[in-house]
Each structure stands twice: as structure tokens, then as C-alpha cells.
């Protein structure tokens, strides 16, 4: 258990370091302007990048010292350790959920708002264990009509329109 937590901390620390590095690299694109002040447009970003890198280093070091790299963690990682948070889903499962959102963003400008939102509701419901029957179909279609009514008809907000709708 302890090792697994340390492993997570190690991944976190490395991720923090990576963010700091990427961000620092992107500060190179900030133009130097005579309209600027002494601090400059890139002043705070540089400080932030160094601060985050420092924090990342400490976090990584602490995780290593806590035994993240010791061989003892191997069996612990394999055994299905009881999660402290019982509602936690596995990473692939969560990424799968997110994929429906991404698919919606990609599809909506081709097939239009109404069909896309119906597909989204239906697909997520099936993914989350709704029965594969006409009821789910009706709920997805009805939900899409409801949202279309609220956003497009009542609020009068544009929703993405596709090639056909």
C-alpha cells in the first residue's frame, strides 16, 4: 500500500516537472515589446516555471525516498489493493468515458446537434450499464429533443449545425 502511494507520488512529481519544462519552453515564444514594463510579459511566466520545477523536484525526490523505486512495490501493484475511495473507477474505464465527449466534439459538426446529442446520451447510458432495449432508445431521443428545446428554441442559442441539420 505504502509503495503504491509512493509510486503515484513519483508519477505526479514527474508530471509536474514535465509541465514546468513544457511551459518554460513555450515562454520562448513571448515577444519582447517596448510597450511593456520592467517585469515584462514573460517575467511572471518564467518565475512560475522555475517555482513549479522546484516543487516538482522536491515531490519527485520525496517519492523516491518513500520507496517508489524499491523493488518491493512490484507485488503490491499486481495485487488488487483495496482502494481508499470506493467510487474510484479504473483509468481505462474513465478514459473510455471521456472518449464519448471527445467523439461528440468531433462528430457534432458533421451530423448536427440533435442527432449528436441523442447519440451521446444513448452511448453513455449503455456504457454505464443501461439495458439495451427500446426504453434507452426513447430516453436518448427524448433527452436530445429536450435539450434542443431548451438551448435552441427557448434560449435561442446557436448549437453546432451539421451538414444536414
Amino acid at each position: 500500500m505504502r509503495e503504491q502511494a509512493a509510486l503515484k507520488d513519483l508519477a505526479g512529481g514527474v508530471a509536474v516537472l514535465a509541465i514546468a519544462g513544457l511551459y518554460y519552453w513555450a515562454t520562448g515564444d513571448i515577444a519582447e515589446s517596448t510597450l511593456s514594463d520592467e517585469v515584462g510579459a514573460s517575467g511572471l511566466p518564467r518565475i512560475l516555471a522555475f517555482a513549479l520545477a522546484g516543487l516538482g523536484l522536491i515531490l519527485t525526490a520525496r517519492a523516491v525516498m518513500a520507496g517508489a523505486l524499491s523493488p518491493a512495490h512490484e507485488p503490491a501493484a499486481k495485487s488488487p489493493a483495496p482502494e481508499t475511495d470506493d467510487e474510484t473507477s479504473t483509468l481505462p474505464r474513465a478514459l473510455g468515458f471521456l472518449a464519448f465527449g471527445v467523439a461528440y466534439v468531433c462528430l457534432v459538426s458533421f451530423i448536427g446537434y440533435l442527432p449528436a446529442i441523442a447519440l451521446l446520451i444513448g452511448a453513455v447510458a449503455l456504457y454505464e450499464g443501461a439495458p439495451r432495449n427500446w426504453k434507452t432508445l426513447v430516453i436518448a431521443a427524448g433527452g436530445a429533443l429536450l435539450y434542443w428545446g431548451i438551448f435552441v428554441k427557448i434560449l435561442g442559442v446557436h448549437q453546432p449545425s451539421g451538414l444536414f441539420f
Binding site: 515577444a31 519582447e32 515589446s33 517596448t34 510597450l35 514594463d37 435552441v152 428554441k153 435561442g156 442559442v157 446557436h158
Partner: protein, 320 residues
């Protein structure tokens, strides 16, 4: 948003219909039944109000229904893309302001200001220099003198804006180097002028009107080429001895390749609309200066404005 726009357009054309009878003008025929006027500003914002007022009075002179469509986001880039993709048949126009030139220059936009065709200019917004009424400055010269002797503190409403450009050009013309501080908009700037943090601010009349009427703010000069009609006692910056003049334009642009018959109708209509007494009453209170620039001259005007701005942004290092 389209749905709201239609509702208001119907109301607008109704009120215009009753007005038509009063003026007894015959509107000219127009090849399109419905004309969509696109703006990047949100409902109630500057360009939105400009278009909605205009849409009320245009049907008196052009036989068409005018609809305002708000295409927000991307600092105007999305609205220009919407325009560039529209057919060049006079059915879609976009309300131009300097914003669309700044956005085209400052980011890699899909469609920039060079990808659309300026139609005609309607107005100029007056850019003014103001200070607090109980402050030590009575003329623009006082401000420049202070900037020469000690550290001047000037303010502009937004970074990368025409106001900022105006302040920088004045700095150069007067040969002084005060701090020019950009703010989060006109209200933020005005507070810092009122509480004495700043010597002067560069802004527009509509933002200042409440404080002007309450007598808390004194106008020192305008960047307009001529004196403002509403404030004839206020000198221009040029008259005060610094050769700087700016025109914050407001007009329309269409997709590239507008047919000549369309541009001709607009060239004839715009002066008539601007002379409409009811419309005049509305835009005079907003301190908009009528400044009709016809289609053939407007191309050059916008290109010139664009290249001046580009040079300014490059010289100051904002653009690489």
C-alpha cells in the same frame, strides 16, 4: 442567437414601417430580401447597439429586412470567418471596427481583414484625452509639461488597442516618456483617473458621459482630425501642437467580390441614412461623428489603417 435577432428585426422593421410613412421616402429596390448584419460584439455591446440602431432606420431607404447576428468569440476572428464564407451577393455584412484589424494581426487567423471587402464607412468614434475635474491639469500642455519635468502617469483602456496606440503616438510627438498603463477596460481606467492615480486617460465619450455630466471629468483634447460637434470648446490634439490624429472607424464590410450594383446602392444610401433626422438624434447623443467613406475610397482607408497599425505593432515589438 439567430432566433432573438429575428424577433428584434421584426420589431425594428415594424417601427421603421410607421416611420416610412412619416418621411414619405420610397426605399430603393435591393436584390436581397433579407440582409444579415454580423457583429463580433455581444448583445448590448458597442457594435451591437450600432447595428441595431442602424437596422431600425435602413429599411426607410433600402427595401429589405435587416437582421443582426452576434457571432462572438475569438476576438472577432469567428465573425470574419463567418463573413468570408458567405456569398458575395449583398446578403451578409460585418460591422468593422479596429478590433478586427488587431485580431488579424495578433493571431494566426483563418481569415484576416485582407480576406474581406470593406463596403463603406459610417462613423468615427471620438477618442479623447481626459483628466479629473479637480486635478491640476487645465490643458494638454500642462500634462506634457508635467511629463517633461517628472514622471508622467498616463492610462489607456486596454492593451493592444487604438487607445494605447494613440497614447504612444502622442508620447513620440511630444518627446516625453511617461508610464503608459493599460487597464481592463474603460471603467477600470476611469476609476484610476478619478482617484488621482493617473494624470490622464485616453478613452471614448460614451464611457465618460456619466462623469462628464456630473462634472467630475474634464476633457483636454480629442484625437479626431476636427473638433467634436458636441464639445466645440475642446481643441484637437493637432491644434494643441502635437501632430497626431486618429479615426476609430465604424463601417461595414462584405465578402470579397461584391457586385458593383450592390456597392452602388450602398454608396447612395449611406449619406441618406446619416442625414435622417431621427437617426441623427440617436447617434449625436452617442457622440458618433458621421464620416461617410464611399466604397472605392474605403478600400484604401482600411489598407492604410492596417499597415499603420502593423508598423506600430512591429516597431514596438508586439509583433515579431
Amino acid at each position: 442567437m439567430r432566433h432573438l435577432a429575428i424577433a428584434t428585426a421584426v420589431a425594428a422593421s415594424l417601427s421603421a414601417w410607421s416611420a416610412t410613412h412619416a418621411v414619405a421616402q420610397t426605399p430603393v429596390d435591393y436584390p436581397q430580401k433579407v440582409v444579415t448584419l454580423v457583429t463580433h460584439s455581444s448583445p448590448g455591446g458597442g457594435s451591437d447597439v450600432f447595428l441595431r440602431e442602424m437596422a431600425k432606420h435602413l429599411p426607410k431607404y433600402v427595401k429589405a429586412t435587416f437582421i443582426v447576428e452576434n457571432v462572438q468569440g475569438g476576438s472577432g476572428a469567428r465573425a470574419i470567418s463567418r463573413l468570408a464564407a458567405a456569398p458575395a451577393d449583398g446578403s451578409v455584412f460585418y460591422a468593422t471596427t479596429p478590433t478586427y484589424i488587431y485580431t488579424s494581426l495578433l493571431s494566426k487567423v483563418q481569415h484576416g481583414y485582407k480576406d474581406v471587402e470593406p463596403l463603406a464607412n459610417f462613423f468615427t468614434d471620438s477618442e479623447v484625452i481626459y483628466t479629473r475635474a479637480d486635478g491640476p491639469f487645465k490643458t494638454l500642455k500642462d500634462v506634457i509639461d508635467k511629463a517633461k519635468s517628472t514622471r508622467g502617469r498616463w492610462g489607456a483602456a486596454n492593451p493592444a488597442s487604438l487607445e494605447r496606440q494613440a497614447a504612444e503616438q502622442l508620447k513620440k510627438a511630444a518627446g516625453v516618456s511617461p508610464a503608459v498603463v493599460s487597464h481592463e477596460g474603460g471603467g477600470d481606467l476611469m476609476i484610476n483617473v478619478l482617484n488621482g492615480t493617473l494624470d490622464i486617460g485616453v478613452g471614448e465619450i460614451p464611457e465618460l458621459r456619466p462623469q462628464l455630466e456630473a462634472g467630475k471629468i474634464r476633457l483636454l483634447a480629442t484625437f479626431d482630425p476636427q473638433r467634436m460637434e458636441a464639445f466645440p470648446a475642446i481643441p484637437t490634439v493637432k491644434e494643441s501642437g502635437y501632430p497626431v490624429a486618429l479615426e476609430k472607424f465604424r463601417g461595414l464590410a462584405g465578402p470579397k467580390g461584391l457586385p458593383a450594383e450592390i456597392t452602388k446602392i450602398w454608396d447612395e444610401t449611406v449619406p441618406k441614412v446619416l442625414a435622417d433626422p431621427e437617426y441623427q438624434k440617436v447617434y449625436k447623443t452617442e457622440s458618433l461623428v458621421p464620416n461617410f467613406i464611399p466604397h472605392d475610397k474605403y478600400q484604401g482607408f482600411i489598407q492604410n489603417f492596417g499597415s499603420t497599425t502593423e508598423t506600430f505593432l512591429k516597431e514596438s515589438g508586439v509583433l515579431k
